[in-house]
């Protein structure tokens, strides 16, 4: 599976949403992405890419697009 597919899957499975909802998705923009949902998403992404995010990265992870920039620092290219 391509990185982009893995990344999208983490969002869709964590929040139970369709691919069409991903673009421009931001923290707190849907009820599922609250502080608890956020930890589920981070855990799913870390497992999918076998990485460990730092505290600042977890906190800065404010949206679907921003997350791609953060993963780029872990050599996860999309």
């Amino acid at each position: 599976m391509e990185n982009k597919e893995k990344y999208d899957k983490a969002f869709m499975e964590s929040f139970g949403i369709d691919e069409s909802a991903l673009k421009d998705l931001e923290y707190n923009s849907i009820p599922e992405w609250d502080s608890v949902g956020h930890m589920g998403l981070i855990a799913a992404i870390e497992e999918e890419f076998d990485i460990m995010m730092e505290m600042d990265e977890i906190i800065d992870f404010s949206g679907y697009e921003k997350g791609k920039e953060i993963l780029d620092n872990h050599d996860v290219k999309m």
Binding site: S35, V36, H38, M39, I58
Partner: protein
Amino acid sequence: MKKLGIYGGGGFGKEVCDIALRMNDKHQVWDEIFFVVDEQYLGTKPYYGRIVSIEDVLSEFDKEGLEIIIAVGEPVVRKKLFEKVKSMGIKFATLVDPSCIISDTAELGEGVIVAPLSIVASSVVLERNVAINTMTTIGHDIKIGAHTVISTHVTIGGSSTIGEETFIGLGAQTKQELSIGKNVIVGMGSVVFNDIPEKIIAMGNPARPSRRNDGNLVFKSKKE
């Protein structure tokens, strides 16, 4: 004989009222226990006794014989109500359920609540308006900052510091010698192994910072 006003008529207000009644059963402290609310809640049926608006409290009661306890579980609101009552020149009660074990060397500030079956160990400092909920253990040499709320079934390991206006959720456990900052929310069931900086929401086992605590509110309205 003094009178006790319980400021807050919600679920925690009921629990606080029961603590006051149990204290009175053991050794009478107050000859009247009543509820204090903000004006818009005046129509609600009180759990016990009568219900008085905060605006009318000083005309209804003699300030000298009056004590107030803040009975809400949201740290930011605890602080707001505490400061309001303080500015009115009213004294605060300190409520400790008779079933608690409190070390003689623990210091409890004004307005502190310790709910049933909790333990507060040696040399603990609970600053003003801290609320410790049911069956919670506060280990030795812990300092807990003003207005902070520790929920039910929490264990705080010894020699730790917890900042002001922080909320520790149901059943959380924190390792000894930790520093948890002010305006922090620790999610329920979390197991905290590392320090948590100020203004952070942290959760999980092991607990990790999730978001910045910008809104400061623990309990979101169900209407939202």
